[in-house]
Subunit: 249 residues, 2 copies
């Protein structure tokens, strides 16, 4: 008999932004899989009766397949992601791997939502996502940069607030500068920008800038960059987007 696979989003940082459903799913699992740091982040929920299978960073495809296979073999498995597992997370890979199995071997899969990085960052900045926004990744690991830039231009032209995931890493140093150069073709230099690094962790850092003053050196792997759109303004230390749009504002 096959087991079950629950793909769980832990939210940002520590336990404060985890949901009860996420905690219950981890407590109930027989096997818990995930990137090493995410297993540490939920160590308070696991115990000696559970099998923990930490993995190294990257190798996401392999991790998804391992989780599906372990569940197919009969175990109740939790596969943990930070943030939300469905947004740039493990759920897509796990569901695709499960769907590739013959029906009789396929485990029951459930996805438990989590607080995704853009939502966590927005709350720390104020309310920049209050009306219409897009989430884009600047990672060109799984896409040609040209395809990323096409989307960036479309969103920039549409005046949407923009949350950028994976803006910069050691191996991807120029993409954020390039994205800023694209955005200033469509938006003024004083467009407000918020940078949130390590949301929910002790090292959490919230910074305000503008498109003109945005310094890519302040941005790292654990930063979400939020670029204001129509109706976004800076109110003291807050970044707030109006709920109304256009003529009726």
């Amino acid at each position: 008999m096959t087991g079950t696979l629950t793909v769980v989003g832990l939210g940002p940082g520590g336990s404060a932004h985890r949901t009860r459903a996420a905690e219950d799913a981890i407590r109930r699992a027989q096997v818990v899989l995930g990137y090493r740091a995410y297993l540490s982040a939920c160590a308070d929920l696991t115990g000696p009766d559970q099998r923990l299978l930490p993995s190294d960073i990257g190798a996401e495809q392999q991790r998804a397949e391992d989780a599906v296979r372990t569940a197919a073999d009969g175990a109740d498995v939790a596969l943990v992601s930070s943030g939300d597992a469905g947004i740039y997370g493990m759920a897509s890979l796990a569901l695709t791997a499960a769907a590739a199995l013959p029906a009789a071997q396929r485990p029951l899969v459930r996805v438990i939502p989590g607080i995704t990085a853009a939502v966590a960052a927005a709350a720390l900045l104020g309310a920049p996502l209050a009306r219409d926004f897009a989430c884009l990744t600047l990672s060109d690991v799984l896409a040609p940069w040209e395809a990323v830039e096409v989307r960036l231009r479309a969103v920039a032209a549409a005046d949407l607030v923009l949350a950028l995931y994976n803006p910069r890493s050691r191996d991807r140093s120029w993409q954020l500068s390039r994205a800023r150069d694209v955005l200033v073709e469509y938006r003024t230099g004083d467009t407000p920008v918020g940078l949130v690094t390590n949301a929910g962790r002790h090292s959490e850092r919230v910074e305000l800038a503008t498109l003109a003053t945005l310094d890519p050196a302040r941005v790292g792997m654990h930063t979400v960059v939020i670029i204001g759109g129509g109706g976004t303004s800076r109110l003291g230390d807050w970044l707030v987007t109006a709920r109304s749009l256009g003529a009726q504002a």
Copy 2:
């Protein structure tokens, strides 16, 4: 001395998708304000020592001002929203009202993130938001429809997955049909669509359709509509978007 205002997102439905931070904020408040149904949704967190100020639906501006004034007068106030308070929620109104006060009267404001409807719906559908997406509201209460349609066209053309908030209500019956007519100019009729109604409640309903078969009559005030984009496919009963994009898929 001024008090504090914590704007709290309860997530969808009942207690399963609430975060610890949200629960703590409500338990600690002296005064809890919100739409009547949201106060009921967190009745397990409030007690006889707290003052509850339920309000009727709508009147959001008034509710935000009441919350800010109560906090300015010295109370520790929680203002509750469903989903995430920052995304089509109360945070923008509350922060704007607070910023309008003279600095000496301004309460300390915090925003506690929640699971927003699009993220909850996506988890029930599989992983449709796995790479790049936009959230748009179809409500033209606070915007002229023309401005809504401009954004819809831009996102449709950019091939982004799209989560539609407020797709239909008793007083807004034609907007979703019109949106579908716009989307079929850019995407094929077999584009996968997911409808999630009353996520997290007993009456939760998850339905799959395509742009061609989408029936607006199945959609109500508590439905989120997710429209697939590039890389979204139907895998059995799941809606899954690939993590990769373009040529490298």
